[in-house]
């Protein structure tokens, strides 16, 4: 069969890739070294035929205790461990830790272990997540990150430990949504949360990246260049190549467009990468955002990526007037952009907005039709039924991608 230049891997090889196939994909779609490492690890796991192996709570307690003891150089005591629900991609355990800080302070903290399963909706680096949370510490409310096990040396899979953050991801009166998709906060809570939602995004994007010492596992993009965006597009295309269940010709057309039209950066921001409803906690009584979560998709890049992601239809719902689409259940698109410009002092560029609207739709289509479908089929997660359910978002997402793309190019 003459498949053209585009295809590297067939379905059998996707299920059990060999070294040559993995190497070819890496060569074809070059991306940041840490992202490359994560995606290569995923393929190596698949090569070994490893499904997700459930760990008991006791195993996680023991592994976590060993990790922390190793990092501190002294024994610690873990108590009151229990599973923590929430999210579609990571395994989480809440526990209490009695320990002594290096300066001798004795303390008890409520912490969370966040561990990858064997496969995931979003394959990501615990090291990068650890680094970015520390980078925004004191600027954006986010749980303090304490320790990381980047290679799963102490735990069954790579993991990190961070502080437990209080608050709810869903309002008490509308708790039935999957992972914050289409979350409706209602008029009162929305009015309280929306300004914080925009204000914190503006704060995040205006952090002076040049002054951050950490984030060693992030490539540092250059203003005026589009190479960092091309690397990000390549990482998405690589996931499509590695994970898709079946081909969608539209995806190839749009990949080519994204590469050909990648805009140069005009400002380097910390980009959250998953800035939307469901990924922050709030105090319902006070109407206050208490913590931003899920930093695993963070990068250094273009602010328009977060702006357009926040208003994606997948995370939106119609307002009470049945006409206004509220991005992340917060604001209409133009209202959000206007509030953001005012809060950040940065411009919102319509050309980049158009580009990243396509970029994010391309991402969502890949995460649903490829990554989620592959992870659940390969029995790679602790909640395959949820990950599989998310695949149901795939065709609405693909339709949205197609329609938006046509609106831009025609």
């Amino acid at each position: 069969m003459t498949m053209g230049e585009y295809e590297i891997i067939n379905e059998g090889q996707r299920q059990r890739p060999n070294d040559a196939i993995i190497a070819q994909i890496r060569d074809r779609y070059p991306t940041e070294p840490e992202i490359d490492r994560v995606l290569t690890t995923k393929m190596k796991r698949r090569q070994a035929g490893k499904c997700f192996e459930a760990a008991t709570l006791n195993q996680l307690v023991e592994g976590t205790s060993n990790l922390i003891s190793d990092r501190l150089g002294r024994p610690v005591k873990i108590s009151n461990a229990k599973w923590l629900s929430g999210g579609a991609s990571k395994i989480q355990m809440k526990f209490e830790l009695d320990w002594t800080e290096p300066d001798g302070e004795e303390r008890t903290d409520v912490l969370v272990l966040r561990m990858e399963p064997a496969a995931s909706v979003t394959e990501s680096s615990r090291t990068r997540e650890f680094e970015v949370i520390n980078a925004v510490n004191g600027i954006i409310p986010a749980p303090r990150a304490f320790w990381v096990d980047p290679d799963g040396s102490f735990l069954p899979y790579p993991a990190m430990v961070y502080a437990f953050a209080s608050g709810s991801a869903k309002p008490s009166y509308d708790a039935g949504k999957v992972s914050g998709l289409g979350q409706n906060y209602g008029p009162k809570l929305r009015a309280q949360l929306a300004p914080q939602f925009v204000g914190l995004l503006a704060k995040l994007h205006t952090i002076d990246v040049a002054c951050i010492d950490g984030m060693k596992h992030f490539d540092r993009p250059t203003v005026g260049s589009n190479q960092s965006i091309i690397r990000q597009v390549n990482s998405m295309r690589r996931i499509w190549e590695e994970d898709r269940i079946e081909e969608e010709p539209i995806m190839e057309i749009i990949y080519r467009w994204l590469i050909a039209n990648a805009p140069p950066l005009d400002h380097v921001s910390i980009v959250h990468g998953d800035y939307r409803s469901g990924n922050f906690l709030f105090d319902e009584e006070q109407g206050k955002i208490t913590a931003w979560l899920d930093w695993e998709g963070a990068s250094l890049g273009d602010r328009h990526q977060d702006l357009t992601y926040a208003i994606m239809p997948s995370f939106a719902h119609l307002a009470e007037d049945e006409a206004t689409l509220l991005g992340s259940g917060m604001m209409a698109e133009n209202d959000l952009y206007a509030a953001y410009e005012k809060a950040s002092g940065l411009t919102v560029d319509p050309v980049r907005i158009a580009y990243f609207n396509i970029y994010n739709r391309y991402l969502i289509a890949i995460l649903t039709l490829a990554a989620s479908a592959r992870a659940s089929r390969s029995r790679g997660t602790h909640q395959d039924v949820l990950v599989n359910y998310v695949v149901g978002l795939g065709y609405p997402a693909l339709a949205d991608l197609r329609d938006y793309y046509l609106g831009v190019v025609t």
Binding site: M1, T2, M3, G4, E5, Y6, E7, K82, W83, S85, G86, V178, L181, G182, E246, E247, E248, P249, I250, E252, I253, R256, P313, S314, A316, H317, L318, L325, Q383, V385, L386, N388, Y389, G392, L393, G394, Y395, P396, L398, A399, R402, D403, Y405, L406
Partner: protein, 164 residues
């Protein structure tokens, strides 16, 4: 009869909804969530299983139509022409099973994408891409209708009627 898939799925759904779910009140949220998603997934299968063969046939018809339209724009490789012919044959074969139908749809998906990749820089690139985007718009809408019960459609009432 034990051959009746619908009855088998119905009894499982009843057990999960009426007996298991109430017994889990007070369980961890993720346990309840997984049960609810299991019920919804089985409900989807129950609703769509009787229609699956018709859906696969509609899907294949759409890929054949798109492939033929592409062949009007650019000369298609021999193996793609053979896949189109095989698809037409499967649709006229009353004994063809769903796996045969799906396999050819899959081949045509790959062929159309390969054709599109090979078109880059060619004078017919724009025409080919336009046909792909137009034709697949219709098929994607049918796939949305197929999966509408998952609850991700903002306005499911606006989706086109099922064409399978």
């Amino acid at each position: 009869m034990i051959r009746d898939f619908d009855a088998q799925l119905q009894v499982v759904l009843t057990a999960l909804q009426d007996i298991v779910a109430p017994a889990l009140s007070g369980a961890d949220n993720h346990v309840i969530e997984q049960l609810m998603l299991s019920i919804a997934t089985i409900g989807f299968v129950k609703a769509r299983l009787p229609e699956a063969r018709r859906f696969y046939r509609m899907d294949l018809r759409s890929w054949i139509d798109l492939s033929k339209d592409a062949a009007q724009i650019v000369s298609v490789p021999d193996d793609m022409a053979k896949a189109i012919a095989a698809g037409v044959g499967v649709l006229t074969d009353p004994e063809a099973d769903s796996a045969d139908i799906e396999a050819i749809s899959r081949q045509l998906r790959d062929h159309v994408t390969a054709l599109s990749a090979a078109a880059v820089g060619q004078p017919y690139q724009a025409d080919l891409e336009a046909v792909i985007l137009e034709k697949l718009g219709v098929l994607i809408a049918q796939n949305r209708q197929w999966t509408a019960s998952f609850g991700f459609e903002l306005q499911p009432e606006n989706l086109p009627l099922a064409a399978w």
